[in-house]
Amino acid sequence: MLEAKHVEGMHNKHKVLLYTLTTCGWCRKTKALLQELSVGYDYIDVDDQEGGNKELAKQEVLKWNPACSFPTIVLDGKDCVVGFQEDKIRELAAE
């Protein structure tokens, strides 16, 4: 089973799920900005998944983002943001 890691934040209006790579600069920037803005989020580091979980995680990303690129950010289980889009991330902290 895939297990997302959780990072606490003060803003939790949206359920934010990140699919990331541990080696990627844009993924790192996305996580850092969410933390800076104190937006709570879950993340799955796809490249760090062991065995069959890696393929499982990849299939999940593909469902949201056919390009399977990173970061893929799923909002409230319905919207998807691809790449490091600073404006869209800042909106998550604005009420």
Binding site: T23, C24, G25, D47, C68, F70
Partner: protein, 166 residues
Amino acid sequence: MSRIPNERVAKVWERLALEARDAGYSVNPDDAFASELVRGLLENETRYGYRACPCRLASGVRERDVDLVCPCDYRDADLDEYGACYCALYVSPEISRGEKTATSIPDRRPVGGPTAHPREMEQVHVAGLAFPVWRCRVCGYLCARPQPPLVCPVCKAGKERFERFM
């Protein structure tokens, strides 16, 4: 946590930046950002045996990922169109000088990699050539010799990145 010692990251980054400058390329001026990308390259080298792009999910099978070994096959086209490669390790001179900033760009790599959608380069047929002409898929360098060079003299890509051009 990363298994790659900081000293090694710094050393490889320094060398990579020098080689880039020598070949006429520019690198990201954000030292912390770029160093982490280099760490990612070394991490991938440890994991997979080759320096796959840190911002793409490698398959772990070298033959399938030849195009995304850094510098990737898409770097120069992305530099032309966006002023930065996909991970933004390589950037335009303007971005390198701090006049513009690199942003996250769409991935031009075909989904699943080029082996999922084989593309035969149109080979130019010229009769009477003394040697075949080889083209570096990364930077476009051409050379006429029996076999491609072990390493591209311009961009340092390996022999496997060459394709028959003429």
